[in-house]
Symmetry: C2
Subunit: 558 residues, 2 copies
Amino acid sequence: MSKSLQDNRQWNGWGDKEKSLALTPDGATFITETLGSVKPLPVATLDEVLAKVPESRLDESELYTLDTEVRLRHARGQSLPDWLAMKSGEFNLFPDAVAFPRSSEDIRILMAEAKAKGWQLIPYGGGTSVVGHITPCVGDKPVLTVSMSKMNRLIDIDRIDQIATFGAGVKGPFLESQLQAQGFTLGHFPQSFELSTLGGWVVTRSSGQQSLGYGRIENLFAGGEIETFEGKVDIPTLPASSAGPDWRQLVLGSEGHLGILTEVKVRVSRLPEEEYFGVAFMPNWEQGIACAREAIQQGLPLSMLRVSNSVETRTQLYLSATQTQRHWLAKLLSLKGVSDDKCMLVYGITGDKQANKQSYKRLKAVISQFKGVNTGQRLGKKWAHKRFAFPYLRETLWQMGYAIDTLETATNWSNIAPLTQKIEQSLREGLAECDTADDSKSKVHVFSHLSHLYSDGASIYTTYLFPVSDSYDETYTRWQKLKSTTSMLIVESNGTISHQHGVGSDHAAYLIEEKGERVVNSLQSYFRSFDPEGQLNPGKLFKAIPTETIQKLTKPDQ
Amino acid sequence: MSKSLQDNRQWNGWGDKEKSLALTPDGATFITETLGSVKPLPVATLDEVLAKVPESRLDESELYTLDTEVRLRHARGQSLPDWLAMKSGEFNLFPDAVAFPRSSEDIRILMAEAKAKGWQLIPYGGGTSVVGHITPCVGDKPVLTVSMSKMNRLIDIDRIDQIATFGAGVKGPFLESQLQAQGFTLGHFPQSFELSTLGGWVVTRSSGQQSLGYGRIENLFAGGEIETFEGKVDIPTLPASSAGPDWRQLVLGSEGHLGILTEVKVRVSRLPEEEYFGVAFMPNWEQGIACAREAIQQGLPLSMLRVSNSVETRTQLYLSATQTQRHWLAKLLSLKGVSDDKCMLVYGITGDKQANKQSYKRLKAVISQFKGVNTGQRLGKKWAHKRFAFPYLRETLWQMGYAIDTLETATNWSNIAPLTQKIEQSLREGLAECDTADDSKSKVHVFSHLSHLYSDGASIYTTYLFPVSDSYDETYTRWQKLKSTTSMLIVESNGTISHQHGVGSDHAAYLIEEKGERVVNSLQSYFRSFDPEGQLNPGKLFKAIPTETIQKLTKPDQ
């Protein structure tokens, strides 16, 4: 039953197995010329991996399935370590069972069992985490993964309050189609939109591509219900309150530590009268940043603004445009003074037609002020068409022998250019010491864009590609080197360890540098008061800290 | 030294003692006809109260002053119980000393002393709390009130990041004049603006009149520094983050329980090209609510929208317009079909001139859609001129024998009309059982407006006036009856116990109904982990709960 639903899902990579994103011939040449030709690593077959799944430590039960393939399919997310595990077949970690609850009552029963028997409990949404949110943790406790996939109904739309209630396991497309059929939208479009779930968006503090217009999930999450080890907690849908700390803010980013979010109430908007995306080219990265900052600080009512740096722009054009198209674009832009360092700026305009006209006029003025060239909606349509397709490129590149991953952060405007430069340099030079024998293998192709803008800063989203090594182990080691060095650099340079992906296990080590030890320990203790034995998604968000430290922190009078 | 600075401050009431707000003769008649003539209660003199201030339980020290008048002037806020205490002279509670630190270093020293010696510590901003935030708590611990009045400097404006850093004790006018001189504004204008402080706004989750445009303090508070019993905690100014729960959200609404906020960094906006306020009249309350909801859910970019119900509208017109003005307004409106039930709607339009034009046009269309009559800017200017003056009316009415207080909440749109009706009825009939002998004394004049709007709901701000009784005690008893019955009704009817005033001591009893016992206890335990002995502003935000309960909650393994 549960298997058939997942049949279209790639078992060892991203997304729908029927879908793919091919490179243009030019794109393939560009990548190969940039990173050298590489021999891909061998990929394990499903049968090989199935044979390696160990016996479950749990007994048969009606509450969950012990089916080997189901366990395998819920063992890993989409982080690079997850990806290497899936491709090599060395999963190592599997849940002992997977439950598919259909109601809050089912979840209460599962939680009571888990609590009584000391199991680890991992809430599972779309399985799209890129930072290890749903990967089981090493340990002697049996692991029960709770898939929310059956709790995906639209429960209610209140047209007066503009609040919609969904089962937390609802995925992006189903959520939007239900809302749009009734004239509303949530407007939350993370790149993982096709697969990720509303509950996952909330507990990881996700952000959609159009957060500039619709707000981050913090703004959209109105309330709902969460099942804890001590029973259900109702989160009221107050539009605003000054009655002490806002508890919703502790659910947001809790990453499973409070319990399982079952129903989520969200603030929806009416469908806009008009929405379109357009593209401009700025003469260079500095002007691109300045243009974005000016637009936002002027308070221009856009729904999106992204600026790619010149390497990202060049890469994108190679990957998605033909030589003729690139030629004519270059010609057009150079006539207007924008040439080799050009930076692509993608904007979204959403709302009332008359207001949109005004916004568009003002945006064009800002683009001109910073010597950019607006090319209008043609390329914007192309962007919108492919907005959720980029993750499929990972497979295409993998088959060519390249690993691809991303790092993202947010920081204040004055730190944007320096921090981007540091991040890119750290990645680009991060493998320089490896492979002195084979220089080609130390190459890393790095590019960035600003994806989410705020009055006081922006997010930086950096993509990096590097050739796989001769073995999975060595590839992992190289990734780890790039990831750890650059992550530490980010938090030491006033960036957040994550603007939109969350903490999971991969970022847990950096949280203390960002928030300070006292704050991190206090938050961990807070969650422990809901989960005394640390059974809820252990090893995520926080590094394991010794039990005696927790006890000390939570016993105020000693 | 500290005394001279406060010389202009009313010692037993609101604001600047040179300022007042007189009633028009018609206004006075209206109130008297509505509530009957009353004999005011006698008001204690400053000398009488000074004679009652008990000896301090603290020794002389350079760290603070024991001056009797200074202690008296920091003993009470502006809640109705505070007001009755100040007018009767029965303060009962005084801080034992008041400190005026000039630096974070000073605060560290004060906190170390307080911690070592077991004092209560009350952070004091503008002393404008209307819910008992700064009133000392009964108990055997000496009370040190820490006035932030000397830590009020503009420390930095970062023009690139649009972040300004202030000492937490800065008051509204000084903050805005400093920012506006440099082309920026915070845009945070609570009614207490003239006296309240930035630090106070943050720790009580305050909201300004134009939060629709500029955001609540949650949106404006970027970071800063807080001194805790365990040292300083830096709160980084990240524009956004998905790295676990956002700790700023635990500072917001902490009401002194974490420590003392010393430096506050805020997100500022550029001064708008144009700003104006206008007034329209809607035919009745239902149409007023519907118009406000439509404007907000359409996403109209206004900086303010308030709608008074018909009693508030009538009262306002009596209090502020002449008979001739009222006559002509009534004539004009009735020609357009708006008559006795008319509801005043005040709007604020802020921004780029061209965009404003568009917003104004759209707003007028919405007003027409709901059969309202827009009268333009004339009355809007009048509103803006008096926007911070209303609290001075309390003194004027007091001298006539009337007590005035407010209750405020927020709830979802579908609950706005029913909840307003319940609140008003509860207040209007709340004294019906008292004074059967003297029926006039059971009258309560009640009116409401929506002051802050959100896509999913609005705040309801209800004002009530009632005649004082023959004694202060009886007046207090009557107030308590109105307050407690109506507060419980609010939280039982899906309203928050406070949209903008905070919890303090007056609302602490209702928090559990709103957030649930588990959540409230967990938050209290959280703060206790920063303040094991409960020395920081005790009795505020949370009801005192038995120490053994706290211990149980914070010892996860028992």
